[in-house]
Symmetry: C2
Subunit: 416 residues, 2 copies
């Protein structure tokens, strides 16, 4: 039996909806990675991996993997297979052969058949342990480890659970349809069988930041607008190069046009927060809950006035307020591209409370100069610490994008 | 500070999007429960609770609660407060007062501000343990326990974990926006503080059935179209009365126009399934994977021909195929209204596999005459049992809907 993409798309009635099969295939050779052609397909190939500056999608499935092989050739083959599958899935095509044989398992698990990718992006990263674990140079890659990928130090207030942290490889799948994101992680995990195993994963059900000025600022689970002053796609290339993209001069040629991703699973102590008064909540954040404006301002996008005083001469935005401590103004201009998601993992039967919070993802040129100093200040001084706890941590080098040419795969600048 | 709904809606730019405040308020007095006025608001009040025949939304947050009070008056007050909050949230309004005082926690936790309800429905149910637990008539309600609410028997193949099963009360929140559903469960849990605690909860990320003929049939995580022959809103009132709605003649007057909900968390052994050949998968289900047609048929909606034989005289649809064993034709016409969702709870570190599957929800007039006999046959004979395991079970009486009149609340026919 031959099952073509065309038959699937026709079968699902998508041609009637205006998505022609030619259009779907054409996308594989489309513009820059991250560009949206208007049909919900984000181009996979380009200078940078998609899923970083791409306008942030609504849903996340993140997964970290541990390699079970000790053969670098198998790592290379995995990245080659993952790249091929990711290019297909983000274009709305099937993983592997579109001719299914009755006697074999289908290459694609099938639950996304008939669904559009809904702006699916799949972004790959390499953890420090790919280069060196327990002092061992596992794959002969240790000398190519970027200085920026040095493991994160212990940070004030951290309560990190190693079982849901770190990993040799990571996959960030984002889409406006959670089934497209789930399908991506599941099929990549399946392809990895025998070479890598899932270490941990995290779903996010709603974005808590915007990476485009055309997106409304969302609210996090504290009920506050989050990510108001994020780095956006519309900012200049100079801004992106300064804060987001790694440069060959940074000590790892192969990471040129890549970026470094930090992940933190931040549990919110929701029941405690919900008992705090509105004034306490607003003074903790430094913003007004309803409008998102900084205290003393009137609009969400007003610059916080950190010098303003109340009639008793006290700072309007308290010294320990989150916006003050996190602000680039008070961190020597440090900025990061945030790509956070709200999560809930149901119910914590030890505490009898909703297990929910923020899965923080940030992209940056060098975490040791960006995430680490900011989080060190936040962890030590931020009033918000009364209501949150960091439970998972990850650091990954996200290699550059690749052109759509035979033989190219994500990570080839390192692994070839 | 006075924070009106109007200010929130204006602040979020929704007036420009065509949703006037008057329109939002007007909805509270709208038509039949479950009807959609075209702006994404589903009417809360009506003959039946919304969220049963309502065209199935894409996302689910389900929660079961245990009462910690022994005072029936507090149960009544809780249902009154829950009803008021649910009516507000489903209409896109704030929980509680829309005037926030700085010195008090806001009544509403705020994360849904600026979001439309996206067809949010909130459906309440009562478990058998509300009437009698460990032989005790906890609230003086035992004599009013409906015969249909008798606890489910042990069923073949069950591996039920009590910690994620049952409950005195349940809340089914469905919406096309997961943040609206999360917000609903969180705020109801907050309102319940001191009277009831969360027992377990379940997120669903994608629907696996349709309750309207205008909806495409979705695929479950086995990659197969699911719920093809479900009961839909478009069927006749006689069909609904026969299979879905309880009648005063059924032994519990107060349940007239209500329904009975069965929930089952069905873990799929995804890695095993993904190694099965296409032919094995199709013979297990009895349908073709690509088209959803029954084996031997050509279209998804073709009736399965259970008598058809192959050229060796064997049944085309095997004797143990899921469609054959579950079919109303082979179950004396038994039908249920299914409202299932795909779930994934990340990663099972005991098995090293994705923890994912189907959260089955079915509404029916009498579970002991509908769910139980069908599941008894399925649990004993269904080929699908090689690939699934039932891990959670719930049974709830879902009381009728209520008109939008002062003093009325969900469950008042029992509790008043």
């Amino acid at each position: 039996m031959s099952i073509t993409r065309k038959r699937f798309l026709v079968g699902a009635g998508l041609v009637g909806g205006g998505i022609a099969v030619g259009g779907v295939r054409g996308l594989l050779a489309a513009d820059e990675a991250g560009a949206d052609d208007g049909t919900g397909h984000i181009a996979f190939h380009g200078t940078h991996q998609a899923g970083i500056l791409t306008p942030q999608q609504d849903r996340l499935h993140f997964a970290a993997f541990d390699l079970t092989t000790s053969n670098v050739k198998e790592v290379r083959d995995l990245m080659r297979a993952w790249t091929e599958a990711a290019a297909a899935m983000t274009a709305g095509a099937l993983v592997g052969s579109d001719t299914w044989q009755p006697t074999a398992p289908p290459d694609d698990t099938g639950e996304a058949l008939g669904l559009l990718p809904n702006r699916l992006t799949i972004t790959f990263g390499f953890g420090p342990s790919l280069f060196r674990a327990d002092g061992e140079d596992r794959f002969g890659l240790a000398r190519r480890m970027p200085p920026a990928l040095k493991p994160l130090p212990d940070l004030p207030g951290d309560e990190i659970d190693r079982a849901i942290s770190h990993g040799d490889l990571c996959v960030q799948a984002c889409s406006d349809d959670p089934q497209a994101a789930f399908h991506a992680v599941r099929n990549l995990a399946r392809i990895a069988r025998g070479v890598a195993v899932l270490r941990w994963s995290q779903l996010g059900f709603g974005r808590t930041s915007s990476t485009s000025q055309n997106q409304q600022t969302p609210r996090n689970l504290m009920g506050f607008k989050d990510g108001t002053n994020n780095i956006t796609a519309e900012e200049s290339d100079a801004v992106h190069r300064k804060h987001v993209w790694a440069d060959s001069g940074d000590g790892a040629d192969w990471m040129h046009d890549g970026s470094y991703m930090v992940t933190r699973r931040i549990r919110m102590l929701i029941e405690v927060w919900d008992r705090a008064s509105l004034a306490d909540q607003e003074q903790t954040i430094g913003r007004l809950k309803a409008s998102g404006a900084p205290i003393g301002g009137s609009g969400e996008h007003d610059d916080p006035d950190f010098k303003a005083k109340d009639d008793k001469g006290m700072p309007l935005i308290p010294d320990a307020a989150h916006v003050r401590i996190a602000s680039p103004d008070n961190n020597r201009g440090i900025r990061m591209l945030r790509r956070g998601y709200s999560f809930t993992d149901g119910f914590d039967d030890q505490l009898g409370q909703l297990d929910a919070g923020l899965f923080f993802i940030a992209y940056q040129r060098n975490p040791h100069k960006q995430f680490v100093p900011v989080q060190r200040r936040l962890g030590a001084n931020d009033q918000l610490n009364e209501y949150i706890v960091h439970r998972s941590s990850g650091l990954f080098a996200v290699p550059p994008g690749i052109p759509d040419r035979p033989g190219r795969f994500i990570g080839d600048s390192l692994l070839n």
